[in-house]
Symmetry: C2
Subunit: 247 residues, 2 copies
């Protein structure tokens, strides 16, 4: 999964708006792939902001370590996602980022990003729009943390992963690989690992989720979607008309 595929897939390069130079610029961000091991920390909280990354293989997550000893996972990154845009405009990281499993990332610098912005407003709009979409997902999780019970949070989390994985072709017969531990899921959803386990059992008993180690199957995705009233505009939607004139 390359960034180019990802951007095109997100509808940000439609209407033939992506020129050959645009594509070259995007590919230029992926010149320096780096293999990273499971659990490897890409950067710590408060570290200097020196780069961003495109995930090419593997899963990553951003997190905050809290004073009370617990951790809050902010976001899970899948292949094709850009990591670090949250920190754009800051000199220090607001959150750490670590790999969940082993994979490949492609770092690029502030300077490369600015250059891309200057040379292609269309791409700039596309990149900003993907960053905005990531924030929309975060907002969605905030809503779930604030007002929904454990089984709804977990169902929503799994369904969002399902949709995102589907877009990058990582879903097979409603099933996908899920390298997160239950403790990590708990850290993402504001639940204890123990309760995540119980909640999985609950969803299994209702026939909504089956799971064997790292393999998760959603037998009836539509039923899950109804349960969580999933609003997928923030994943699916393309850029609005107003952006066309900007290109």
């Amino acid at each position: 999964m390359t960034l180019l595929d990802s951007i095109v897939m997100q509808g940000l390069g439609k209407h033939g708006a992506l020129t050959a130079e645009d594509k070259a610029l995007i590919l230029g961000l992926e010149l320096t792939p780096r293999r990273v091991s499971a659990g490897e920390v890409l950067w710590q909280e408060s570290a200097e902001v020196d780069m961003f990354c495109v995930v090419k293989e593997g899963w990553a997550y951003s997190y905050r370590n809290l004073g009370n000893g617990s951790m809050q996972i902010l976001k899970v990154y899948l292949p094709g996602d850009i990591i670090g845009m949250r920190d754009f405009g800051f000199s220090r990281r607001l959150a750490g980022v670590a790999m969940i499993n082993e994979g490949v990332v492609c770092p690029f610098s502030h300077q490369q990003l600015f250059e891309l912005f200057v040379r292609s407003p269309a791409l700039a709009a596309g990149i900003i729009a993907t960053a905005v979409r990531q924030q929309a997902m975060l907002t969605e999780r905030l809503v779930y943390l604030g007002r929904y019970a454990a089984h709804e949070r977990l169902a929503h989390f799994l369904y969002e992963l399902y949709l995102r994985l589907q877009r990058i072709g990582a879903v097979d017969e409603n099933g996908f690989s899920m390298p997160l531990s239950q403790e990590q899921i708990g850290d993402a959803l504001g639940l204890s690992a123990v309760h995540v386990s119980r909640t999985f059992s609950m969803l299994r008993d209702e026939g909504l989720v089956t799971r064997d180690r790292q393999h998760v199957v959603l037998p009836d995705p539509e039923a899950l979607a109804r349960l969580v009233e999933f609003n997928n505009t923030y994943i699916e939607e393309t850029l609005p008309p107003a952006f066309q004139s900007f290109h």
Copy 2:
């Protein structure tokens, strides 16, 4: 509180980077002030994205109405804030926005925003940076919703308001006016209105917060800051060096 004051105050126009044209562009966003009444809905969720707003007077909040009948308040907007940037890049609103008390807002269009972007990259960077900072505040709340208890959430919420109000000169002797009802605070923090009341009592008994109707006083702001381990980089920080070369 004008948007210009707000942007300058946030350090985004430092180093003399704001030209006369920049200032004219900003003021151009505030040409059409509109008086709005308490409780007035500026737009509903899923409405078409046709404008953004600068708040000149009064408080507003963005919210989501949930299927289970409850509401989640996403963000509280104070004078000088830009409303609606969350929806930039979408064709429909991700959240509704309503006024808390009466006030004045200045709407401006997509087109005006694009024009500003094209004519002043420095301002574009500034506006994007303010949007990024708003998202950072949201992320901070997500952390609190996930991993902190009621009294810590409320303390953090009040302290953040305190800092933001201080920036715009709305704090007097550690006190400020707080037009939110306890039900609205609960909707922001994922708590019931009843528990917000109890939690206020708790903070009062500990000498951290006193309150008389809409007037809140933080007798010892530093003690509150310690309690919530407040990380104020996302409110205080100016643009990082990398942006200077972009200007």
